[in-house]
């Protein structure tokens, strides 16, 4: 019989490794051990995994901890090792994916605006590790969900809803001789906010692109009308590439289809291309987000002209500049100077807190 103490110990170990195992789950696990064959490794493994994990993301860590736990038990209990549990090694990243995953983090030292603070939410993106990627996706998802949930003030008739549409109901009652039998309902029309994200992936943005692309990926894959583009010297639409089940896959497709990563920057020309091809899709319900540090090698006049056009059609124009996270940064580059008059919101995008702060700006 598998002892209660060793079970409790195992649950503690799981908790120490970040799994949230509640006392209620421990009780359930103890109850489960009463009704299964505790000598059979597979049976114990599967049962405890059913009970103690709450998501497939927990599986790898559970597997490795269980292996240690089981081998630590007195040997006579263990009848057979059972079939080995496979642990899949993460696939090697290739192309841009490899490049993005293997950025030397020390590079951030050379970038202006890399923040001096080290810990917590204020830590600079350039020093971020893989664990925070998921958090970035979560922020993106929350933003998109909030966009989708926003209701307009107008009503629309619906089949079932919470508010009765009195006018329609009375009209319907005419066919039953004035008796209200079928009720009609109405609800607030959902607001259709669209997002266009234009992300700078030129050399000067290198230490931020990885995280910002993750953010764009998160936005793109959360059921809303989102169009995304990247530019360095020329503009590429990446909506299709990003629409992938995994970030890894999206990166692979990006590396196959998009050229000019980490090159020079021609913001003005890229935005002009955007205007020529996509401006007609922009309307007052669209929020345009430009992610760039504003270092431009092109003519500032061209940038100003492109932004003016964009500003006129878009509902809101947001410029996120990762360098703004630094207290010493002033938007004095020629490009940034030219852009400033046309921007509704000029905000930093260098850490998680700044992305979170973005939420209210996006709701029109």
């Amino acid at each position: 019989m598998l002892g209660l103490e060793s079970l409790v110990g195992f649950c503690r170990t799981l908790r120490e490794h970040g799994l949230s195992v509640t006392p209620a789950e421990v009780v359930t696990a103890a109850a489960a051990l009463q009704i299964i064959d505790t000598k059979d490794r597979d049976e114990v493994f599967l049962s405890l995994r059913n009970i103690l994990t709450t998501s497939v993301d927990d599986f790898p860590i559970f597997e490795s901890l269980f292996a240690t736990f089981w081998s630590g038990l007195p040997k006579k209990l263990v009848q057979s090792e059972g079939s080995r549990i496979r642990r899949t090694a993460p696939a090697r990243a290739t192309g841009v994916a490899f490049f993005l995953e293997n950025w030397p983090t020390s590079q951030s030292v050379n970038v202006r605006g890399a923040s001096e603070t080290e810990s917590g939410a204020e830590r600079d993106f350039s020093a971020f590790s893989n664990e925070e990627l998921e958090e970035i996706s979560r922020i993106a998802r929350r933003i998109v969900r909030r966009l989708a949930r926003k209701r307009s003030r107008r009503w629309r008739p619906v089949k079932c809803g919470s508010r009765v549409n009195l006018r329609r109901s009375l009209r319907l009652s005419l066919k039953t001789g004035g008796e209200l039998i079928d009720l009609a309902y109405k609800e607030r029309r959902p607001k259709r906010t669209k997002l266009v994200v234009i992300c700078d992936v030129s050399g000067s943005m290198d230490s931020y692109s990885r995280l910002l692309l993750q953010f764009v990926y998160g936005l793109q894959n959360s059921f809303a009308k989102v169009e995304s583009f990247v530019f360095a010297t020329s503009l590429s639409r990446i909506t299709g590439e990003l629409k992938n089940r995994t970030y890894q896959r999206a990166l692979d497709r990006l590396s196959a289809n998009v050229r000019g990563w980490s090159g020079g920057t021609r913001i003005g020309a890229s935005l002009a291309t955007f205007n020529a091809q996509w401006l007609r899709r922009i309307d007052k319900q669209t929020v345009v987000i430009i992610l760039s540090d504003g270092w431009d090698t092109g003519e500032p006049e061209q940038l100003a002209q492109a932004l003016a056009q964009l500003r006129q059609r878009a509902g809101r124009l947001i410029w996120l500049n990762p360098l703004l996270g630094s207290s010493t940064y002033q938007p004095i580059t020629r490009g940034m100077q030219a852009a400033m008059p046309f921007i509704n919101v000029f905000a930093p995008a260098h850490d998680l807190a700044s992305l979170r702060a973005l939420e209210p700006h996006l709701v029109l």
Partner: protein, 285 residues
């Protein structure tokens, strides 16, 4: 546990030890089972097979955005109530009697959750499908019902389940479910099947298919899933394809028949293009 596995196999559901364990624990401990996995790997099928295996009713609640208590739990049949009052207008019954009459069981529309709770004969299987598509408010409401299987209807009183239903929830992970819900449930993850398991499934579900062809079908599907596609085909698609091949009396796979039936498992123009590009590589394997 083995018994469950056998029972499921009688319903032509190829269950492995993991699924059997999950179902066994869920039934033995009386806890809901949350099944997650990509689309089309047979999550819903588990509940259907379980209901058949236990020879009990399957009550299904399909979740969608905006699903609320009135469509999931119960609703008063107010047109009927109105008509009843109309008929009773001239009767001598007092107001209280009339009210009691129209709030009787006859005027109650039972939605899936209430149905599951009031099932008299034996515990039904309650399938709450695609819970990730419902709103967070509904999730909270569901927690309340699942924790003690009782429902309070103000006009009638509290109804407690006579037999605790076997609850199975499925989710495609289109959004994060709340931790509270996850903790209440046992958790099981189904992934795409391995080559051998898929082969077994194809042969069990489409027995008319030849051994050579079925192996080829499974191989192509396995290769397809490793491609970078926008919509990865599930087991349901594999079976559709196998059925289509049988219907066309195909005995072996060639380029022509593959081109004719590709729509069975790839439903996106760009995916088909990707697939065709990789076809020579697959054929070489």
């Amino acid at each position: 546990m083995r018994q469950i596995q056998r029972l499921l196999e009688e319903q032509i559901y190829i269950a492995d030890a993991a699924i059997a364990t999950a179902l066994y624990l869920s039934m033995a401990l009386g806890k809901p089972l949350l099944i997650e996995g990509p689309a089309g790997v047979g999550k819903t099928e588990i509940a259907k097979s379980l209901a058949k295996a236990l020879d009990t009713k399957l009550i299904r609640l399909q979740c969608y955005e905006g699903l609320d208590a009135t469509t999931a739990l119960y609703e008063w049949n107010y047109p009927k109530q109105l008509l009843h009052l109309k008929l009773e207008e001239t009767s001598a019954a007092s107001e209280a009697e009339k009210e009691a009459a129209i709030f009787g069981e006859a005027f109650l529309l039972k939605r899936p959750l209430l149905q599951a709770i009031t099932e008299h004969e034996r515990a039904p299987v309650l399938l709450i499908d695609e819970i990730d598509r419902s709103d967070e408010e509904f999730e909270a409401f569901l927690l309340e019902v699942l924790s003690d299987f009782q429902v309070t209807i103000p006009e009638i009183g509290t109804i407690t389940a006579t037999h605790r239903p076997h609850v199975i929830l499925t989710s495609n992970r289109s959004r994060d479910l709340s931790d509270a819900l996850r903790r209440r449930c046992l958790y099981h993850w189904i992934d795409y099947p391995s080559l051998d398991k898929e082969l077994e499934i194809v042969r069990a579900k489409v027995p008319q298919i030849g051994p050579e062809l079925s192996r080829r079908v499974a191989q192509v599907m396995q290769a397809t899933r490793s491609m970078s596609l926008s919509k990865i085909p599930g087991v349901a698609e594999t079976l559709d394809w196998a059925n289509a091949l049988v219907a066309l009396n195909a005995t072996e796979m060639d380029e022509e028949i593959m081109a004719e039936t590709i729509g069975c498992f790839l439903k996106d123009e760009t995916d088909i293009a990707t697939f065709k590009g990789e076809l020579p590589r697959i054929n070489a394997d």
